[in-house]
Symmetry: C2
Subunit: 328 residues, 2 copies
Amino acid sequence: MTDHPLAPLLAERLESVGRIFEAALVSDVPVVNSLCRHVERYRGKMLRPTLVIVSGLAARGTGGGAQLEAPPERHDTLAAVVEMIHMATLVHDDVLDEADLRRGGATINSLRGNETAVMLGDYLISSAFRLCSTLGDPGLNLALGETTNALCAGEILQLSHRGDMALDERTYFDIVRGKTAVLVGSSCRLGALLSGAPERVCASLGAFGEELGMAFQIQDDVLDLVGDQQVVGKTLGIDLRKGKLTLPMVMHLAQCDAVMRTRTLELIRHVDAVGVRDLMERSGAIERARQRAMSMVSSAKARLDALPDSVARGLLHLMADAVVDRSS
Amino acid sequence: MTDHPLAPLLAERLESVGRIFEAALVSDVPVVNSLCRHVERYRGKMLRPTLVIVSGLAARGTGGGAQLEAPPERHDTLAAVVEMIHMATLVHDDVLDEADLRRGGATINSLRGNETAVMLGDYLISSAFRLCSTLGDPGLNLALGETTNALCAGEILQLSHRGDMALDERTYFDIVRGKTAVLVGSSCRLGALLSGAPERVCASLGAFGEELGMAFQIQDDVLDLVGDQQVVGKTLGIDLRKGKLTLPMVMHLAQCDAVMRTRTLELIRHVDAVGVRDLMERSGAIERARQRAMSMVSSAKARLDALPDSVARGLLHLMADAVVDRSS
């Protein structure tokens, strides 16, 4: 998407987001600063900040003459806030997963221990709320608090279903909505809200983001199962050991007969990742999950019909397509 | 203090705080609710909520005719917010300390694992910010964010000095200010702010609370070293193993000569808690730390001179004295 007409503007805005992000984490305790500089390297695609900014642009003018448009700095600040929340979840997820590597660098927990990683994650959450408060809008703080409540509840729900081979689709979707989709949805919705868009437009963009987030997570599940056998074996092996079920697995177990179920559970017990993958492939569960992600992307794009045609709306369409088109 | 004239009012208000606290944690995910009900049992002396309410009462009328007094429900909500932040730190501290027991009940980490404890702590932080946002005052959210930033930075500073036998007094106080005193100070300051008190009064109550919090932590350090030899051995033993220095130890090591220093470090290395305690007692370090806590309480009480005489101010005096008079 580097040749998109909005690309130069976006690059400039994301740089501004990065500057706000870094400035908001400055502490008078030097060790906090060095830990934050390390975490800043985790920043990847900046999906959530991009959605705040592009949603804000796409929602412009939808409020009619009464619409008060916020200066771009406010969107950039909000974009830094959602990225900071996302970063906090990465740091705490690494503690949960006992992960050693994140984007090719050592995780905080592996470098400084779980204790420091827990506290650094807390510092990121706290800083996100502090930064959000500088926008001076209690409604935004409330929306952020509701978003992070749903996020934590989703993570707790997932933990409580670890190793639950009877996990149903509905609960799987509840988990993914909480731990992934709600923050993506809020990025879009609050981006529109800051542009002064009417409730109808904010809600449409929120629904767009939430479905996009769900599709993103499902596609992640699917990508972990296709491609190089060794890589698949490792990723799926970790999931199986942790008792973490993905959508293809949930769909496979829900649909297969008693004999196949017993066979699958046996392979899971023996952490035979390649064997489990082959069964899911043959039962069509992987393909069905992929289809589900694609239909969610279509549904997400349809939400954008509530917005006037614009270059920004076109970019949201492209971003949605990219979720299912990617191979990593 | 159960015979204090404010006791019946306070009991009523703290019940209201408890109701707000519980209602704010209700989730549509059942497992989150059962975890929160467990954590609610950790509630102890309710020091911070009490300080919000009593500071609010003591600050009444200090703003002159222009003062707009908040209805008591707003103080009760803020009191629930600070208690929720405190509770989050307890849950995450138990993960840090690998603690199994908290107020006679099993800790979340020992019952459900570190992962759930990390996420539940996050849920408490998030809920505290969400609840604070319902007060509709961005200044309060900002102050809360600054408080929790200082709190996390204090914890991270402490972790970075684990096992640092050269820890100086100044750094010790920086740690205690961050991890304990700032939240106690904010409880007092924001209680006054909600009563519409002028900045001068809010600042005095904030300084009162901060010094009270410092004294409280030092007194905790001291109480862990006096009394029953077996109990002392256990508590100090844990601190020594974790490389956690208390004020008596910092004072002892800073003051003793090279021979005594070598001897002390040797006993520390062998986790000889009773031996270490005896050395600190003989060098007078325990008594000096106790004196420091007492002088901080005096200094805290002097801050209250900025307030008009009232029953509530008298109660703050009593609460300050109780910090150093207690034996557990």
